[in-house]
């Protein structure tokens, strides 16, 4: 009994009730309590004191907290006992809802991306078409521009030639074979240049196997000055082969490429220098 009294007075039982003992000490106290009713009674006394001390120090929680806590416990209570199936379904729902939300988000995001992609593609296609149109127009403008500048420079050349006093204009008149024909040759003996005015050329259009050939008569002999074609839309000046002097100019119709000597029966125009 002395041992028991010492054990009680050691303070271990108080620490046991306060949860401040090692697991070995805990087992020891429980063993002692089960063996000795005195220790069990002492423990009960200590517990009651501590409990009453807590009651003295109690703080009443708010009424809302009572509802909240009882609500959460009684919900669990229902889960445990009354509605096991329904609880299962509810849980299933909760589990399904969460990923559902996520999936929806990605669905919408994906749809939005797709819509954006399509819109972008359409816009890009339209833009591409417009770019093509613009390029075509630009090309046409450039061609036109080039045409204009060519024309202008050609006209410049013509004008320069006409202003050049060393040139003399010779009007070749139609022969009996082609009385309507007429053409103008500009000849500069000092520059040894022969130019024909295609713009004022009036000769019957030649076919594909024939070409007109210009001849210069020098001392009664014909000298080849090159071939040309007569078409409806021919224009500008055309440089022919060089020659220093000529008495007269004539044009004959020859096989394509020209002949070594003129076919006199096919002489179309003739003009003296």
């Amino acid at each position: 009994m002395e041992d028991l009294k010492a054990y009680i007075e050691s303070g271990i039982l108080e620490l046991y009730v306060l949860g401040d003992v090692t697991s070995a000490e805990k087992l020891q106290v429980e063993e002692m309590a089960s063996k000795h009713p005195a220790i069990k009674a002492e423990l009960d006394e200590i517990e009651r004191s501590i409990e009453l001390y807590a009651e003295e120090n109690a703080i009443e929680p708010s009424e809302q907290l009572r509802n909240r806590i009882l609500g959460s416990l009684l919900t669990n209570f229902g889960d445990d006992n009354n509605f096991p199936t329904q609880t299962h379904v509810e849980r299933e729902n909760v589990v399904v809802m969460q990923p559902g939300k996520e999936t929806n988000f990605y669905k919408y995001a994906f749809a939005a991306c797709l819509a954006l992609l399509i819109a972008s593609a359409v816009a890009l296609y339209n833009l591409y078409n417009r770019l093509n149109d613009t390029n075509t127009q630009l090309n046409a403008m450039q061609v036109q521009n080039q045409h204009f500048s060519t024309t202008v420079s050609a006209k410049d050349n013509e004008l320069n030639l006409l202003r050049d006093t060393s040139y003399k204009l010779i009007h070749l008149k139609g022969t009996a074979k082609s009385p309507e024909s007429i053409m103008t040759v500009a000849f500069s003996p000092s520059k040894q240049k022969v130019v024909i005015d295609m713009g004022s050329l009036k000769l019957p259009a030649n076919d594909k196997t024939h070409q007109y050939q210009l001849w210069a008569l020098v001392g009664g002999k014909p000298v080849d000055l090159g071939v040309f074609d007569s078409t409806v839309d021919s224009s500008g000046f055309k440089n022919m082969k060089a020659i220093a002097s000529a008495d007269a100019f004539a044009v004959t119709l020859e096989p394509r490429g020209g002949s070594a000597s003129p076919t006199l029966s096919e002489m179309m125009v003739l003009g003296k220098y």
């Binding site: 007075e9 050691s10 303070g11 108080e14 620490l15 009730v17 306060l18 949860g19 401040d20 429980e30 089960s34 423990l43 009960d44 006394e45 200590i46 517990e47 009651r48 004191s49 501590i50 409990e51 009453l52 001390y53 807590a54 009651e55 003295e56 120090n57 109690a58 703080i59 009443e60 929680p61 708010s62 009424e63 907290l65 009572r66 909240r68 806590i69 009882l70 959460s72 416990l73 009684l74 669990n76 209570f77 445990d80 006992n81």
Partner: protein
């Protein structure tokens, strides 16, 4: 009004109906012990909202682990208050709680809370005055440190700079005083 509605059972009846998972036992459990448990939790956790959360966690844990309690182990309240204290101490030592920076250092808290609570909650603490007069200040300090603050008697000895044996003796004397008082 709420006081009138409170359900009270004997501890034996309460334990039995809790073991049978009866609905009324839950309400009785709350009505009989919530204030005592909240008093303990509130002295460990200064923040009322967090203390309320811990009280809820405490009841949830009591309810779910009730099968591990047996009357042979001791009184129901002793078992429950240990759950409450452990949850509260876990909470103030958790990262979340520390990050919230709402806590004061536990050492500074020891007397502060009681001073604060006694003024704030005076109406609910009738009877404490008698008790304060019964207990010597050093007895009250040691019982509060160990009971309300979750100090081990070893930590309390270090904190107060008192030998371990003296701590144990004082604790025992304090509880002896309480026993006299309540008897």
């Amino acid at each position: 009004m709420s006081k009138k509605r409170k359900i009270s059972l004997s501890e034996e009846e309460l334990v039995l109906s809790l073991q049978h998972r009866e609905k009324i036992a839950v309400e009785a459990l709350y009505d009989m012990y919530s204030a005592s448990l909240f008093g303990v939790i509130s002295r460990i956790i200064n923040d009322t909202a967090i203390a309320e959360d811990v009280l809820q966690e405490t009841f949830v844990k009591i309810w779910h682990s009730f099968s591990s309690y047996s009357t042979e182990k001791g009184r129901l309240f002793t078992w429950m208050v240990n759950i409450a204290r452990n949850l509260a101490i876990d909470k103030i030592r958790s990262k979340d709680f520390k990050n919230q920076n709402k806590n004061q250092e536990i050492e500074n808290n020891v007397t502060f809370i009681d001073e604060q609570r006694n003024t704030v909650y005076k109406p609910e603490l009738t009877g404490v005055k008698d008790l304060v007069q019964t207990l010597k200040p050093e007895q009250k300090l040691i019982i509060d440190l160990v009971y309300f603050k979750g100090y081990t008697h070893v930590e309390a000895a270090e904190e107060l700079g008192i030998p371990l044996g003296t701590i144990k003796t004082r604790l025992r004397m304090a509880i002896q005083e309480l026993r006299k008082h309540f008897n």
